[in-house]
């Protein structure tokens, strides 16, 4: 097996065992990036020099007999909405296109302290608002499984990078599905942890009420390892829970699913979604049953009917408030104006894309008298009802399965003119975000056209270990995703 095909855990072990060096791991990563990123366009900034220097330090530690950490020498990538000290952090937006933060996001510090090496910063939909990674200052990222299709979003750059074998592990952020959906579209694994598991300090906010730092990898074991490194209390983020986390890696040793009660979501018509994805859900249920689990159909009527509307009211109101900080004065792009108001309007109107401006204006509207009482206030109560519905499910089941997405990756440039239809692509992911639940998108192989299939495993709040355990047991039976050489389907790779 070549270096770029290894998982993060295998890479760290091989480096510690001196089968190859961290410098070689970085060179392997750079070789993949140089070969494919001209076409895939997953990366905004590549940090070859810094990565090689850090790799040399890791190798020196190993040579002295010291342990650089559980991710010793493992190249990784973060979405370009993680603050990185002295390294451009754009959020794919003109408003931050030349901004260099003065500090690292906590998750970046944790990964570096574990011995991982930051290789690059990946593309996203501007300010993480989107589901296709097309709305970016560097243009669209392409799906490496089929270069004619979108990789999903908004963490599409991170997902495409892992699927293409640039790195075994990447970080994204998931607000309403922004890691789970691209993981599904690119045929890899991705988990959105429970709200409160991972610090968001230094993550550029879209919606603080829902944003979660989320890892993507080609194995569930790597997701668990990343969780072990990332999930910890952080005094810099008051939404990050102070409890002592379990050892997530222990959960992935689960050999079978005996004694597990798993619900399979049945609250929709098969005709409402892609038939292959419906088949993948059914197959995942069958595999769980064969592995010893008790499988029963479940329904989530409130979550499915009200989830998307509640999500958009919550997220847009929050986004409008969060993006108010981009004023062109303290950092970021600045466009002159005769007055202060002109300067604000010139800077913000020219530097945010139309989609971001629409969301900000709508969010501002939702927070005004009248709209607040008819939209934002009711949405807060619907969330409570939804949380009660989830609590009821988890009083009977350990986890449940539902699709990650209702559709397969769609062609690049698909213009959905009806925003309501566009947002409905998130129907299976946003309720999980609203409930603060852990959701893991697991690769289920490919359909007859070689497009990736997936299923989502959802657990109770702080039930991340159980979700990882079930996913690991399923992965052992299904097979873990492999690296692909990016190609357009129909062409020989």
């Amino acid at each position: 097996m070549e270096i770029h095909e290894l998982t993060a855990k295998e890479t760290a072990k091989a480096i510690k065992d001196k089968k190859f060096s961290a410098v070689e791991a970085v060179r392997s990563s750079m070789a993949r990036i140089s070969k494919y990123d001209g076409v895939v366009n997953a990366l905004i900034t590549v940090l070859e020099e810094d990565a090689l220097r850090r790799a040399g330090e890791i190798d020196a530690l190993i040579a002295r007999g010291e342990d650089p950490g559980p991710l010793a020498g493992v190249p990784y990538i973060v979405k370009d909405n993680f603050c990185t000290r002295g390294v451009r952090t754009t959020c794919s937006s003109h408003i931050l296109e030349n901004w260099k933060p003065t500090y690292n996001a906590s998750p970046v510090n944790y990964m570096n302290a574990a011995g991982a090496i930051l290789m690059a910063k990946s593309n996203l939909d501007e300010f993480a608002m989107g589901s296709s990674t097309e709305n970016s200052i560097i243009g669209p990222t392409k799906n490496p499984r089929d270069l004619g299709r979108v990789p999903g979003g908004s963490s599409g750059g991170s997902a495409a990078a892992v699927a293409s074998g640039y790195v075994p592990l990447a970080l994204g952020t998931d607000t309403g599905g922004s890691v789970r959906q691209p993981a599904a579209f690119c045929g890899i694994q991705g988990i959105k942890p429970s709200y409160g598991e991972v610090s968001r300090y230094g993550i550029i906010a879209y919606c603080s009420a829902l944003d979660q730092v989320s890892p993507l990898a080609r194995s569930v074991e790597d997701l668990a390892l990343a969780m072990e490194i990332l999930a910890r209390p952080d005094p810099n983020d008051t939404t990050c829970d102070g409890y002592a986390r379990p050892k997530f890696s222990d959960a992935t040793a689960m050999k079978d699913l005996k004694g597990c009660r798993i619900g399979v979501f049945a609250g929709f018509e098969a005709s409402e979604m892609d038939s292959d994805l419906y088949g993948a859900l059914t197959r995942a249920g069958d595999i769980c049953r064969e592995a010893g689990a008790v499988i029963e159909p479940i329904d989530l009527p409130i979550a499915v009917k009200y989830g998307v509307a509640t999500y958009y009211v919550t997220a847009l109101a929050d986004a409008s408030s969060k993006l108010g900080c981009y004023d062109g004065i303290r950092y970021g792009t600045h466009i002159e104006g005769a007055t202060l108001a002109d300067m604000y309007a010139n800077t913000r109107t020219s530097s945010f894309s139309e989609e971001v401006r629409r969301r900000i204006i709508l969010g501002a509207c939702l927070l005004t008298e009248g709209f607040y009482q008819n939209y934002y206030g009711p949405a807060l109560k619907v969330r409570t009802k939804m949380a009660e519905e989830f609590e009821d499910v988890f009083s009977k089941y350990d986890a449940y399965l539902l699709p990650t997405t209702p559709s397969l990756p769609y062609p690049l440039g698909t213009k959905e003119t009806d925003p309501n239809r566009m947002y409905l692509g998130d129907v299976f992911t946003v309720p999980i975000s609203l409930g603060g639940l852990p959701g893991l998108s697991l690769s289920m192989g490919f359909n007859s056209a070689n497009l990736p299939l997936s299923v989502q495993i959802v657990g109770s709040r702080y039930g991340d270990s159980k979700v990882l355990g079930i996913a690991a047991a399923l992965e052992r039976l299904i097979g873990r995703p492999t690296v692909c050489d990016p190609r357009k389907l129909g062409e020989v790779a």
Binding site: T339, A345, I361, P378
Partner: protein, 99 residues
């Protein structure tokens, strides 16, 4: 209750958000906002009488940082990311052009 915005409200909300809408884009923005408002009005359909507002519950409140003054020795670094600095201050345009 379903609500809509008209041209005037659309422009007022844009001003509140420090954004400008070009005259030929106002109707487009208004219509797309109304499409989303129309869809999101669904949140008012569920009977939530007596239901409290949602709030996150934590297992354990995080430890607080010590309440002490920081040495902001990286002040120059912060200033270096500002588009325009005047001594120790961020430079801003006049509030009114006539001033």
């Amino acid at each position: 209750m379903k609500m809509t915005v008209d041209r005037e409200v659309t422009l007022r909300m844009a001003r509140a958000a420090q954004l400008r809408i070009e005259p030929d884009q106002v109707d487009y923005m208004m219509n797309s906002i109304n499409d989303i408002l129309d869809f999101c009005a669904l949140v008012g359909d569920l009977d939530c009488a007596g239901t409290p507002d949602f709030s996150w519950k934590m297992k354990k409140l995080p430890d607080r940082r010590p309440d002490i003054a920081h040495d902001w020795s990286d002040r120059d670094e912060f200033k270096s990311s500002a588009p325009a600095i005047d001594g120790d201050f961020f430079r801003v345009p006049k509030i009114n052009a006539e001033e």
